[in-house]
Symmetry: C2
Subunit: 278 residues, 2 copies
């Protein structure tokens, strides 16, 4: 695979890159961002994967996430993929919550989505191999996090690959897509009506069926407009309690669903990951 560096800017002593590449998984060009901290000049550094939420591209967290200060201090690379395939040939759904900008980190089996909408393969296989081959990252020290739909992505990827990640956290994640409107729409649309195929993509269901991570950090704002209908953190709280998974769930007073919330707690999440990556 070849990559095209769309932009490169020095920032916080490191390098912030935006990269485009032809994606065999998604059958279109895909764009992601990667921050390389100053420590990467001296060798491979641990890498944090950040999966974004509905409507986002790599750009939202890259511009608003405020992760570079902590990544430069802690010596972490930070990779932010897109949230879906994109392009004139990529079919789109109806609404902001299905189709372009809303890939939900699954490999679609339903038509017309199955040709391009293969974000599971993209974020779990293609992109890690590409990043490992092109950049100074230590694939034995990986962490994963994400926001909202991307929090769902981070949790389900970590629960499916427990040996790959040393740590996992999430900001305002969808924890039980099978039980909430956003998730039911997306999983029905991409995977069809057979709920057995949904389980691999439902963090609460995965934990209930034996999937495990060592520990888990989740922040959610009490003023999040999606808290009660879409996020329902009490479901993962109960599942982790029943399963004996060490969950740190923090209900942050007064915070909403925006990047103003994410950026507030980003440095704290990165420090939590760095502890487990060192």
């Amino acid at each position: 695979m070849t990559i095209e560096v769309v932009s490169e800017n020095m920032s916080h002593g490191g390098r912030q890159l935006v990269v485009r590449h032809a994606s065999p998984a998604c059958r279109c060009d895909m764009t992601f961002s990667i921050f390389l901290p100053p420590q990467s000049e001296g060798g491979n550094v641990p890498v944090v994967w950040y999966l974004s939420g509905l409507t986002c591209t790599h750009a939202n967290v890259t511009e608003k996430g405020e992760y570079r200060t902590a990544c430069a201090e802690l010596g972490l690379a930070f990779v932010a993929p897109d949230t879906s395939p994109r392009g004139d040939d990529v079919p789109d759904g109806d609404g902001y919550d299905f189709g372009i900008g809303a890939g939900f980190y699954v490999d679609a089996t339903e038509e017309p989505w199955s040709w391009n909408y293969r974000m599971w393969t993209y974020v779990t296989d293609e992109l890690p191999r590409l990043v490992a081959s092109e950049f100074p990252v230590d694939m034995d020290r990986q962490a994963i996090t994400g926001h909202s739909m991307g929090g769902h992505g981070a949790l389900t990827v970590a629960l499916n690959f427990p040996d790959r990640f040393r740590s996992v956290s999430a900001f305002a994640p969808i924890v039980a897509p099978s039980q909430v409107p956003w998730g039911q729409k997306a999983l029905t649309g991409y995977l069809g009506d057979d709920r057995a195929t949904w389980r691999k993509h439902d963090a609460v269901a995965l934990i209930q069926h034996g999937a495990r991570v060592t520990d888990l950090l989740v922040d959610v704002g009490t003023a999040d407009q999606f808290l009660e209908q879409e996020l329902r953190p009490e479901l993962i709280e109960r599942a982790c309690a029943d399963a004996g998974v060490a969950l740190t769930l923090r209900r942050q007073q007064g915070y909403d669903h925006s990047y103003y919330f994410i950026s507030t707690f980003m440095a704290n999440h990165l420090a939590w990951h760095a502890e487990r990556l060192s």
Copy 2:
């Protein structure tokens, strides 16, 4: 004057607001952002004014400036105005460097600009009075900074009102608009050909003619694409040396003109201001 709160988000323990109001100075609606740190719950806090560069609105620094962590820690309010009048009735110039998004912090005397383009009065009079009347800021503890055209604004406002500001800094400022293409185009367009009227809006000329600030912090990137033609930091370096003004000019290796540069040094500038505001 009445204000409309367009948005309010909790962030870093404080409140990030975007505010719209009818502006008598600019004869249109104007929008600015203000961050109120948690310390403002207990009384008036010092205020940092941030003037933005060409093409920007309040939103650029609000989203990409990464000032909230330091402002929350140091107890600073942070106000970011727009860079020009805006609206269907506001005349626009040709190019990104004149007209809307490029008010240059002057009161235009030339037509058709003089009706709306009154950014000098807006940032030195109308907005400070509005902010002081509506928000818990201590107008005896003010600092000012800005980027590029806004660095020019910060320097010239501080040099014209030396008793108002306890500190002034700038990121990649235009220091001598009378001597560079951006400045010559703007000052000719807004103020006409009589260069005597330009002096008040040229930091280097002001210093050469006796205007003073106690000290001054300026960062500029060595990879800034506008360094040699538009910014020319050597001109203020020489003027400050000749005048005995304590200038800290840092040429930051490898940094460009973008918010990746600004956000890297924002916390350092805010700490520098906080020392002088306490």
